[in-house]
Amino acid sequence: DAGVTQSPTHLIKTRGQQVTLRCSPISGHKSVSWYQQVLGQGPQFIFQYYEKEERGRGNFPDRFSARQFPNYSSELNVNALLLGDSALYLCASSFDVYQETQYFGPGTRLLVL
């Protein structure tokens, strides 16, 4: 079975631009979460979606937004990019949100110049 997939794998943007990252969960999983991982640190929670509804939001500015589609795939959007947004963006899926283990995709490496 396919695991969590993310696209693109790498991305280079300039300050002020906007970016959209995509994630497809494991088949049968209904929850998708997004995390930001800065080099040398642990992942930081950004958003969680379950059944197309936002279930949680981390301490990130309003420039970050996300949505989940009827097929449970998800997009993360970041507007007005800053240099500090350069990071590995990880998507994780779980069957539901009740203490189910989350499985991560390979991530999208974003570099903002």
């Binding site: 929850s31 642990g42 969680q48 279930r55 203490q99 283990t101």
Partner: protein, 114 residues
Amino acid sequence: GESVGLHLPTLSVQEGDNSIINCAYSNSASDYFIWYKQESGKGPQFIIDIRSNMDKRQGQRVTVLLNKTVKHLSLQIAATQPGDSAVYFCAEIQANNAGNMLTFGGGTRLMVKP
């Protein structure tokens, strides 16, 4: 805010030896803990989990121990192999009606010497 942390940033072991990676957590309300392994350029890979009503759980070559009294979590890897070289994260979940978002610590790098 409360978060999960680790005692040692880097651990170097000889191939074949046992490895122990430690983690301290401060949120007493956390009731589910997971260890992840992250290799360079890859996403975190699930290793083993443990619920707060357990003290120990064993997998293949790995054991997780939970000491709720001192809020301490450890991952033991038996007969460490070169393929075990990676960064290891512990993460916690505080169950609530909203979701199961993970709170990660900073990670420990495990280096296995041949």
